[in-house]
Amino acid sequence: MTEPGLVVDGLTVEIPTSRGVVRAVRGVTLRVAPGEAMALVGESGSGKSMTCRAIVRLLHPPARITAGAVRFQGRDLAALSEPEIERIRGTGIAMVFQDPMSALNPVLTIERQVAEVLPAAAGGPRERRRQVVALLRQVGIADAERRLRAYPHQLSGGQRQRVMLAIVLARRPAVLLADEPTTALDVTIQAQILTELRRLQAHLGMALVLVTHDLGVVRRTVQRVAVMYAGQVVELAPTAALFARPRHPYTAGLINSVPSVDRRAALAPIPGTPPDPVGLGDGCAFAPRCPIASAECLRGEIPLRAVADGHWSRCLKAHVVGGARVAGTAAQGS
């Protein structure tokens, strides 16, 4: 049976280092329905980008997939040869990157780089130029005609990210992986790009996986959230449910450490630092920083369990999570 959309099943990525093997992604399982917008959230090093790169097989060696499958259009992407995965990339699953400064070829004009993704049968030069302009307009570049002959260094960061989007969207991918597409940009530009992304996603009926560490962005942009910690998905829930009542202490901590204009409560950063990725044990990786951890949390692998409809948590005490502080957050959440 072929499942629609993208299914990531038990994906594991390991990086051999001089200190030992780093398990950057540990058995991540995700399901992205066609046309759905979801987010991967977590702090730096939690494995969100690594997961995306593994899906399209763009890991930088020596990082490699050691277990799991990525099912898409009836095939396991993790097992395809390089020429086969090349045919999936772009049109099947596309990816935009964090840094628009470096994602464009610095020595080619914008027109050439956008025109390159047009189908070969796109007509004569005049017709191709018209299509390039249309693509640039679609992503909100106002003076598109004038930008054609520009080089990437002549554009602002926001404009470059828009150009990247134009290039990626021109191939009409079924799934778009957006790896922190706005972190390198100003806040005002961030909002514009995300709105644009959201509009185009709905318009083109494409599935979106947004990698971010910005919970504000998550709340505005996606329907479902996967929270990652130390290479694992620790909580998976519809956006509203997650913000209303997080069922993992890490998620609760993340929400509480976001500054808010209308919340009077002091910021509550999560104590401690993320664990050493070398030699992670079986128990809950968050336990050393967790306010409600006990001895049993360190005993054995903790599975991802359903705590409500469509709401999954990798916490033994999911029912306890959500004290006063989190409740306060929830009040202004919805």
Binding site: E86, G90, N105, E116
Partner: protein, 283 residues
């Protein structure tokens, strides 16, 4: 152009100004090639005709560069010789350039066994000094223009391979290459359409100085009697023949020497100017 675009684009003058070196080098080359092409018009002498009544005459109004030991006009022979030396130089670098650039790009991008194969070949050739290897190959194959081309072809490609491999290695892990891969572009397409264009400018700049090396190699081979056969007016050969009479007629050897120098300076200026031009563009 509208005002806004005018402000956004870099100043036009700065972008299109031709570097002095490029202009000077090009002018010197055009003069040399023009002189060589128009040699039958510019001088009334025959480069091969001997005149035993006019042996080793010093430079004068009739013979600008003097005459050699057979009474041949040295200026005429230098002009005709330019055609030989420049032809060999340009032909000799075509194969090394093309092959070296492709081999370097493939080695750099694919890595692994492809890289190992190319770079071990490069190591082997690097282990023997350039001149020694060229002389050995020509000595083995026998003198003549074609064999010079073969010898230089075998030896000279390694510099381009190394240069382009370095450029490609540096670029292939840049984010934009990953972005291109994420778009589903094939490896061949990324190398040909994105990495090679970025690696070519430095290779093209080096090409200019490499031509100088080949001109000198060609005349060295001529000087050693391994190159073009007499009585062809090849510069190295002329220096070699004139050497015997260095005390009675220095011009017979010195003038073709100056010609070598002139051509060398022209190409070096050209390469230097080209580098300046590309550096401005690359910013």
């Amino acid at each position: 152009m509208t005002t806004l675009a005018g402000e956004l684009a870099p100043p036009r003058a700065a972008r299109t100004r031709v570097p002095l070196g490029l202009a000077a080098g090009a002018a010197m080359l055009v003069a040399l090639l023009g002189g060589s092409a128009l040699a039958p018009v510019l001088t009334s002498y025959d480069p091969y005709a001997q005149n035993l009544n006019a042996m080793l005459l010093p430079p004068s109004a009739a013979h600008w560069f003097g005459t050699d030991n057979y009474g041949r006009d040295v200026f005429t022979r230098v002009l005709y010789g330019a055609a030989i030396d420049l032809r060999i130089a340009v032909l000799a670098v075509v194969f090394p350039f093309v092959f070296g650039v492709v081999a370097g790009a493939v080695a750099g991008y694919l890595g692994g066994w492809a890289d190992a194969a190319v770079m071990r070949a490069v190591d082997v050739i690097t282990a023997v000094p350039f001149m020694v290897l060229v002389i050995a190959i020509v000595a083995f194959l026998g003198p003549g223009e074609l064999n010079i081309l073969v010898a230089i072809g075998v030896v000279d490609w390694i510099v381009f391979a190394r240069l382009v491999r370095g450029e490609v290695l540096r670029d292939k892990n840049l984010e934009y290459v990953t972005a291109l891969r994420a778009l589903g572009f094939s490896r061949a397409r990324i190398v040909l359409r994105h990495l090679l264009p970025n690696a070519l400018p430095p290779a093209a700049v080096f090409l200019a100085s490499d031509i100088v090396l080949v001109i000198l190699t060609t005349s060295t081979l001529g000087f050693l009697g391994l190159g073009v056969r007499p009585p062809a007016p090849e510069w190295g050969l002329m220096i070699s023949e004139g050497r015997t009479f260095i005390y009675t007629g220095w011009w017979a050897a010195a003038m073709p020497g100056f010609a070598c120098m002139y051509a060398g300076i022209a190409f070096i200026l050209l390469g230097d100017g080209l580098a300046d031009l590309l550096r401005v563009r690359g910013q």
